[in-house]
């Protein structure tokens, strides 16, 4: 039964992440004085791509090139499903926050490696940039998320973090929760690979990096995996810090859902509209300072019970 439930929840998260993509594109267009695509355009894109033929470039490691996007999608979808299942009480895994994080990182790495196995020089640069980027932003993001999920002895369990918030109010109102959310907001554009932190896919520099050789259904999987990853990160942050005690787990999840949309709107849509892309060295310097500091403060505050 569990696999079926997880599959259904993964589909829900995937649909929600694509709806956010549509919203993101529409709002960004309005901010730039454009009309923008229809809300459901990301769905149309995925459907169209799925109907195209499978192509692997000659000279690529075909097996890896084809398998890794699928693997990345599986990792992302599982991360999304576990997050949602934990939030609605269908699954109680000890330390599922850590599991979700590992899955998301595995998904990012799979995409980078899959791209690099195409043999394209732009994809290789993307891999080297991607690895330094992952080191830079994943640490503050991980520390902040762990800190937010430690409150009241929740110890990295989504279900218990929700229980703690039901009993004692949203974690956002604590010092550790507020600083953790700030660190996560800073890390979100890097997780979602949007400006200013889209160094791994920078179009004008390395022609969308690891995605350069992907087309058709494989590109659809890549896009879907990325989309689910960033939505799951936002959803997890929202669940860990913004849960309002409403009495019904589904109502609470809906509020968290809206919270996730708000997090994405602030950190991805608005940020990407008003800034230029940074360089890898600037990105690393940024994350090793403010977000890391914030996440460490959050950890310290969480350990001292603030």
């Amino acid at each position: 039964m569990l696999p079926v439930i997880l599959l259904a929840l993964a589909a829900v998260v995937a649909a929600a992440s694509l709806v956010f993509d549509g919203l993101d594109r529409k709002i960004r267009a309005r901010l730039q004085a454009r009309v923008g695509p229809p809300l459901l355009q990301p769905f149309y894109d995925i459907i169209k791509l799925l109907g195209k033929s499978w192509i692997a470039p000659r000279g690529s490691a075909k097996g890896l090139f084809t398998a890794l996007p699928l693997l990345a999608l599986a990792f992302s979808a599982l991360a999304g499903a576990v997050t949602l299942a934990g939030a609605v009480g269908l699954l109680e895994l000890p330390g599922d926050v850590v599991i979700v994080y590992s899955l998301l990182t595995a998904s990012s790495l799979s995409l980078l490696l899959g791209g690099a196995s195409s043999g394209n020089p732009y994809a290789s640069i993307s891999l080297s940039r991607g690895v330094s980027t992952l080191f830079a932003f994943k640490l503050p993001l991980l520390v902040a998320t762990l800190a937010a999920s430690m409150r009241g002895g929740a110890w990295f369990s989504i279900a218990r973090a929700l229980e703690v918030q039901r009993a004692r109010g949203p974690t956002l109102l604590t010092i550790s929760g507020a600083t953790a959310l700030l660190a996560i907001l800073a890390g979100m554009p890097a997780e979602g690979e949007v400006t200013p932190f889209d160094v791994t896919t920078a179009e004008t520099e390395i022609v969308s990096g690891f995605m350069v050789e992907y087309s058709g259904p494989l590109l659809a999987f890549v896009k879907l995996a990325k989309s689910i990853s960033r939505f799951t990160t936002a959803l997890l942050a929202s669940i860990l810090t913004l849960c309002l005690p409403l009495g019904n787990p589904w109502a609470e999840v809906t509020v968290c859902w809206l919270g996730a949309l708000l997090i994405m709107l602030l950190s991805i849509t608005l940020t990407a509209t008003f800034v230029a892309r940074v360089r890898v060295d600037q990105l690393a310097r940024f994350f090793w300072r403010i977000p890391l500091l914030l996440s460490l403060i959050s950890l310290a505050a969480s350990l001292s019970g603030w």
Binding site: R28, L31, Q32, A33, R34, P121, Y122, I125, T195, P196, D198, V199, A202, E203, T204, E205, I206, V207, T273, F274, V275, A276, R277, V278, R279, V280, D281, Q282
Partner: protein, 396 residues
Amino acid sequence: MMEVERRAAIIPFGPLHPATKEPVNLVLFVEGEEVVGAEFRFGYVYRAIEVLAQRRNLVQVLHLTERICGICSHAHPLCYVQSVESIAGIEPPERALYIRTILAELERIQNHLLWLGVLGYQLGFLALFMYAWRIREAAMDAMEALTGGRVMRAANAIGGARCDVNEKAAVMIRNAIKESRKAAEYLFDVIHDKTVEARLRGVGVLSRSDAVRCGAVGPTARASGVKCDVRVDDPYAAYEQLKGSFSVVTSSGCDSLARAEVRVAEILESANILQAALDTLPPGDPRPKIPPHRVLRVVPRGESVARVEAPRGDLLYYAVTDGNGFLSRLRVRTPTLANLVALAEMLKGAELADVPAIYASIDPCIACTERALVVDVRSGVKREIELSGGGLACSP
């Protein structure tokens, strides 16, 4: 190719690449993320313009020159008519000279705004791209009101202008002046936004001596502190009469940020010129006194060089007429060709991530620059023309 370059990874930028809007092959030798050498390969958009110019009569060539560049579609025919007028000794009416100036400055405004948008795109700053191009519409509308065309404006004629500033056009031009002044101040703040500045300051440095040595022109040279501007150094059209209304913008920054600053400031100066030109527009008929069919018989055998300050810099035409209404030689030296040598200099030691911003900073126009294609007649093999730090070279 140097030995160090052989060890470096070769990253091709183009011929088809999102950062190079036109087909040019920029070969980068990269160690890690550092560019240790750069070469340009041309020949993808060669159109044989100079050969075509020798097979058409003087009036037809006017329309041909207009099609060399879509952005500088006033500067090219203007430079051409000036060279023919100087051979034939034709004096255009005073009003026509003012109209040429007005169009040249409107063109500069739209070019600089277009360039700023492209720079934004290169930096992943799409909002800047969208805003700059929207502001640009005011200048485009003014040109349309004045000439009837947005891109191919066909406003020049040998010995005059083919359009006149009527009431509607004057209103539109004044609107463009107002909008561009407002925009320039706003855009100055935008390029000094923290993230934009972080990507432009100290990037693509071209020292003053290098700018002079490489023969850089236009905003590229002026941003390196070289005070050169054909409008002041060798006035044409109505710039002699309007020289009190503007100043040459220079900067000592020498980097991509300085090149952006110079262009934004030039938008303001162009607005000043437009204002002065409209206020002192002389009365009369701007149309040529000699109709086109007679021009062909009037122009004697001769040669001349004409220069125009196109939005990208010093544009030079060398024309030789045969006395029968045709050209026996037309040579076009676009500002991009002059700036490409400087570009190779700027790229040395740059970060790979900065290449798009550096490449865009000289505002290259490749199709206008392509002048030669080397074909080995015996084998029929086309050879690429290469340009590296030292200058032009031909490779098999």
